[in-house]
């Protein structure tokens, strides 16, 4: 502990570099290690090493947190000069403050636990080392995103995590659907990034023009510590520009943090391995938008229009995500939409000027949502990789530990009062929203955008309690429905596949010979179907151990002390008591308990007899509402299919233009001059090109003579 208390800030680069180093080592040596040391030893080194690098980073971040809590203030830590021009310099430097170390601890702490779990989950995968290469790289970029001291560094991390997400969604690349989902995620994020970069450019424009007026003399004026203290002065003057900048930055946040309508990539991203869903698509990467808005809170404070829009979009997303979850049958999809919905809450908080409450929810949500995802991973692991909840039921007898752990995550998510983490952070958000913040008043309703968002938040909280109860009940309670599946009779005739024909010429030894082909390790894709003969097995202790730690962190043990200190920790000033607004803190508590009980109660009542007919395999029996919820109320098809159809149409049109008009013109001229060339063709000189060249140079000579004569005027 003493060591951590005296940790010098210059060591902070290790927080980024340890995971990065790990990633490079696994990329270069991972394959060799597994091959030479054997699968057990090699994969153990990789799994333990990767986990250790990340956990050490978390401990280092904890050291700085400790020092900060004792009142230390750190200067930005310069690592190297990144871009430096005569009018701007963007150094590669780290910021150590309460926000960055909190996020670093969450990212590396939860990340480490997920690494630990993943070492078990991915053990049988042939590309174990590739998986940990990506996973460690992701942690490095995510840490860069939260710890960088300017928006350009945030952007490196931002894009870097996007690429890791792309690679991990498409990790099982042989299935086309996975790589499609990966592309969709990357492109949807790029649309958001477009907004983010424009916002950055506009910010640069406003800042750069006013450096002298503000008295900024440093060339690294894009660094947070240089320009953010001036935010109030400058942005109060350029109110219109600030609103535009904030909205553009928010577009970036919408892409990464899956807000309506750019959320469409997140559900598809579940194609990745479950630890990836837990780490990237629930706990860390998708919250970067909230981190961005928290960082930029001084700007947003000057732009009430932008704040209102953020709150509204957050509320819409919170409710929409919850409603779509009603119609999902895939256990991971339910959690994915729940993530979308919870991210909406975080933006409600940012919108009403309580970004700290949003960060609070980021932290608690990271723990319990990672827990829920990993537990669902354990269920999927136990159920022969079948993810449809309609096959589950009664699993609590088979998977007692997973049941207990997942129940804790469940109670935390739906905000079970006082004992669980979600209660505290959700209550903080809705409480702040009910205060209204600085958002606009909606005249016709008589309430502000913030208050409206708060009300929607309460409705969404009810929905959350209901659909999560549905998920828990369908999975763990009732009868085991997989026992009704008759085993399909597959014939697996073991025939030797004929070798593909060898190429006739292979002077450079590009191809494998018959002997080399036969020496290849035989790939057996043995797939085990889920049927009544299946016996679900609990995951080994090495896998549920990290989950137990996450479960402990999902209770009041972590959240209650945070509840009283977090606002001061992030914002630096004492919590204010809100007066006015729709509901005071004291009024909110019973309402929130009521919402929780109602959702839970109706859910249990509805699903007490197991899977209702109206949600079964026969889709025709489904209610209209549930069917459209399954299809995201058509939003995905409008945005994704619509835009790709439009893009394809435009592409065909432009290609046609290119071939027929632009190129056609060139070829037309070619034909014309060929005609002239043909007329001038001499019998000896048949080479067409030589003809052209001669023609060209004759013409050129003529033109030059003309030009010289013409220009003689200037003599």
């Amino acid at each position: 502990m003493d060591f951590l208390k005296t940790l010098d800030p210059s060591w902070s680069f290790l927080i980024l570099f340890l995971p990065l180093f790990g990633s490079i080592v696994w990329a270069l040596l991972g394959g060799t290690m597994v091959k030479n040391l054997g699968k057990t030893a090699g994969q153990r080194i990789i799994g333990i090493g990767a986990t250790a690098f990340v956990l050490i980073a978390a401990v280092l971040a904890g050291g700085y947190a400790l020092q900060l809590s004792e009142g230390a203030i750190f200067e930005p830590v310069l690592i190297f000069d990144w871009i430096s021009l005569q009018n701007i310099s963007i150094p590669f430097e780290l910021r150590i403050d309460s926000l960055s170390v909190t996020m670093a601890m969450v990212v590396a702490g939860i990340g480490g636990l997920i690494h630990w779990y993943a070492a078990g989950y991915m053990w049988e995968d042939k590309e174990f080392s590739r998986f940990f290469t990506y996973l460690n790289l992701f942690i490095a970029f995510m840490l860069l995103l939260v710890m960088g001291n300017n928006l350009a560094m945030l952007f490196i991390g931002w894009e870097g995590v996007g690429v890791c997400s792309y690679l991990l969604i498409g990790f099982w690349y042989k299935d086309k659907a996975n790589s499609k989902a990966a592309n969709k995620a990357f492109i949807a994020n790029r649309i958001g990034d477009f907004g983010l970069t424009l916002g950055l450019f506009y910010l640069v424009y406003i800042l750069a023009g006013n450096l002298t007026a503000l008295g900024i003399e440093e060339s690294r004026w894009l660094s947070y510590d240089v320009f953010l203290p001036h935010a109030e002065t400058i942005f109060a003057t350029f109110r219109f520009e600030t609103t535009i900048i904030c909205l553009l930055l928010f577009v970036g946040a919408m892409g990464k943090s899956a807000q309506f309508p750019l959320y469409v990539w997140l559900p598809d991203a579940m194609a990745g391995p479950t630890p990836v869903s837990a780490l990237i698509h629930a706990a860390t990467m998708v919250t970067s938008g909230v981190v961005l808005l928290t960082r930029m809170a001084p700007l947003f404070a000057q732009a009430p229009i932008a704040m209102s829009i953020v709150a509204l979009i957050g509320a819409i997303t919170a409710l929409l995500g919850a409603l779509i979850a009603f119609g999902q049958t895939d256990i991971k999809k339910v959690l994915a939409y729940s993530t979308v919905s919870q991210l909406g809450y975080m933006f409600i908080a940012c919108g009403v000027g309580a970004a700290w409450a949003g960060m609070f929810h980021v932290v608690t949500h990271a723990f319990f949502k990672a827990l829920l995802f990993l537990c669902s991973g354990s269920v999927i692991y136990a159920m022969a990789h079948n993810q449809d909840m309609r096959n589950y039921g009664g699993l609590w007898k088979k998977l007692p530990i997973t049941t207990i752990l997942m129940t804790i995550g469940f109670l935390a998510l739906i905000g079970a009062p006082f004992l669980f983490a979600g209660w505290y952070s959700k209550e903080a958000i809705i409480g702040a929203a009910m205060g209204g913040g600085t958002t606009y008043q909606i005249e016709s309703l008589g309430i502000s955008f913030g208050e409206l968002a708060g009300i929607i938040g309460l409705i969404a909280a009810f929905c959350t309690a209901f659909y999560m109860t549905r998920q828990m009940w369908l999975t763990f309670m009732g009868k085991g429905r997989w026992l009704e599946i008759e085993p399909a009779h597959h014939d697996h005739p073991h025939h030797e596949e004929a070798l593909p024909a060898a190429p006739a010429h292979d002077a450079h030894r590009f191809f494998m010979s018959d002997d080399e082909m036969k020496a290849l390790p035989h790939e057996e894709e043995h797939h085990h179907d889920l049927d009544k003969s299946h016996e679900p097995k609990e995951v080994p202790v090495s896998m549920w151990m990290p989950l137990a730690l996450l479960a402990v962190a999902s209770t009041w043990l972590l959240a209650k002390p945070m509840n009283s200190h977090f606002q001061e920790w992030i914002t630096g000033h004492e919590p204010e008591v809100h007066h006015g607004g729709l509901l005071s803190h004291e009024q909110l508590i019973p309402v929130a308990i009521g919402v929780f009980l109602l959702g839970l109660g109706i859910g249990i009542y509805w699903y007490r007899k197991g899977l209702p007919k109206a949600e079964g395999w026969d889709m025709k029996a489904w209610s209209k509402f549930r069917r459209s919820a399954l299809n995201q109320f058509g939003i995905d098809s409008v945005f994704t299919d619509g835009s790709s159809a439009a893009g394809r149409g435009l592409g065909k049109f432009l290609t046609w233009i290119d071939v027929n008009l632009v190129d056609g013109l060139v070829n037309g001229i070619g034909v014309l001059s060929k005609g002239i060339g043909g007329a001038l063709r001499s019998p000896q000189n048949r080479g067409l090109v030589r003809q052209y060249a001669v023609l060209m140079h004759l013409g050129a000579a003529l033109l030059i003579v003309l030009a010289i004569l013409k220009l003689g005027v200037f003599n």
Binding site: L85, N87, K174, I187, F194, V204, G209, V666, A700
Partner: protein, 597 residues
Amino acid sequence: MGILSTLLLIPLLGAVAIALVPSQYHKAIKWLAILFSGVTFVASLGLINQFESGTFHMQLVEKAEWLPQLGIGYHVGIDGLSFWMVLLTTLLMLLSLIFSVYVEKRAGAYFGMMLLLETAMLGVFMSLDLVLFYTFFELSLIPMFVLIAIWGGANRKYASKKFFIMTLAASVFMLIGIVAMAKHYAATTGVWSFDLVAIQAAVADGSFWAGAMQLQPIIFWSFALALMVKCPMFPFHTWLPDAHTEAPTAGSIILAGVLLKMGTYGFLRFLLPLFPESSRDFASLFMILAVIGIIYGAIVAAMQTDIKKLVAYSSVSHMGFVVLGIFSLNHSGLMGGAYQQLNHGISTGALFLMIGLIYERIHTRAFKDLGGLKAQMPIYAALFLIVMLSSVGLPGTNGFIGEFLALIGSFQTGAAGLYGIHWILPVLAGLGVILAAVYLLIMFQKTFYGPITNDKLKRLKDLKGWEIGLVGVFVLFIFWGGLYPNTFLKPLEKSIAAARMMAINDGGQRPSWAEPTHEISDSGDLMRVAERTETGGWHEDYPGELVAKANHHFLATEIAVELPGPEEMGHGDDHGDDHGDDHSEEGDDHAEEEEEH
């Protein structure tokens, strides 16, 4: 003989040596070619020591008389801009010759042509005499034409002719322009000169165009047309997809990596310094064409079924960013554009190399024959991924820095409304960044993901060691350029700042290459200095006399320091609009100030 002339001579000697080797000694010819280009590369590394990045003046200058009565001379020299182009040329040539060991057909002619091409390209980037430049500019055409016509793909005849005729036809205009420049120089000074430094000096003090402003746009366009076809800009790009697709791999690398850059290099070397008013007047037009090229190239690229054609169209899109940056006439933008030239050479060169590696194996470029390669060739897939991401412009790779600076610079100019450039142009160009992800990810998916459908691929081995090393050099520069771009930006900076001031300042306030007392200070101002260091730089501590202040073209309004009262906070709507109007007026004012200079 100086280092520059030596660099020009070595490849030429190599070509001669190869011509002397009987054609049956394939191996000897290949080794000889690699040896000569290797020596050229090593010799060019010598520039790094000798080059002084603290000045914008031409360095390592060599001059000799050629046709003195016409004012034509042998005059070579380099500044920051040509410094990197020379190094890029020698590096790419060495790498593509190493790859060319796979060439079997008429090796003697092939390697001879490649070395001849190297001399021509180096000459283009070193020439300080317009006629010398034009000679090398045209000389580079012939070997490339032959390379495509003989060693190209199925449609090589058509592609090579189209390439040759289009670029030649356009460059004829430049020849006319060059003659006109010399003629006009004679008209103003009484002596003929094709010397770039001399002509630019006359432009810089304002005497050249004084009284002949109507002539400037005409000659400007005669230069511009040739360069626009070369780089290529929409709508003159149609030779590129065909030439790229049909060219042999090494030809494609050189074509994308170096030959296209002659166009944008020409913009920086000739258009901005020699035609300041026209450069400003037509900047918005160039920006519009660049933006069309960026979006159009990207969309058409996404529709291709041939992997090489896809990359060819992506070049149209990527070169748009170079032009965008240059004609933003903003320091960051110009730096981005100039840097993007190098990056495009590395990234797209690497992409063509990667495609060449697979083409040598399976002799197909159609997506329908590829697919699932990742399982078969994991190292190849990983390297391809890195190269692809650099082309996407991922931060941390070289592609990002150039595009980012070009966009940020053009946005500054657009937001201030300078030179008639509308803010929507850089915004639309930003869409190109999204589209780049679309077509490149589609390319990667179609090539590497999914199951293997083509039986031919099932026996493929992964890359050989030396091939990995070859790609590794590109990967090294991809990360170096992205993580520590200062290495590459620093030598460029003074030359770029000077080129910009040559274009936007008024006569008498423009830097002149011929004026040894002119220097650019670290904050970008033009100073007159007296004491110079031995290497040609200037003493940092010497207080120079300010000639012109660097104008960064950012919004330069004094802001009101007092805060608005709380009652005003509520109605940002109305105020917001007011501010918007104020602001654009400020932009206009600023533009007018610019004009008045």
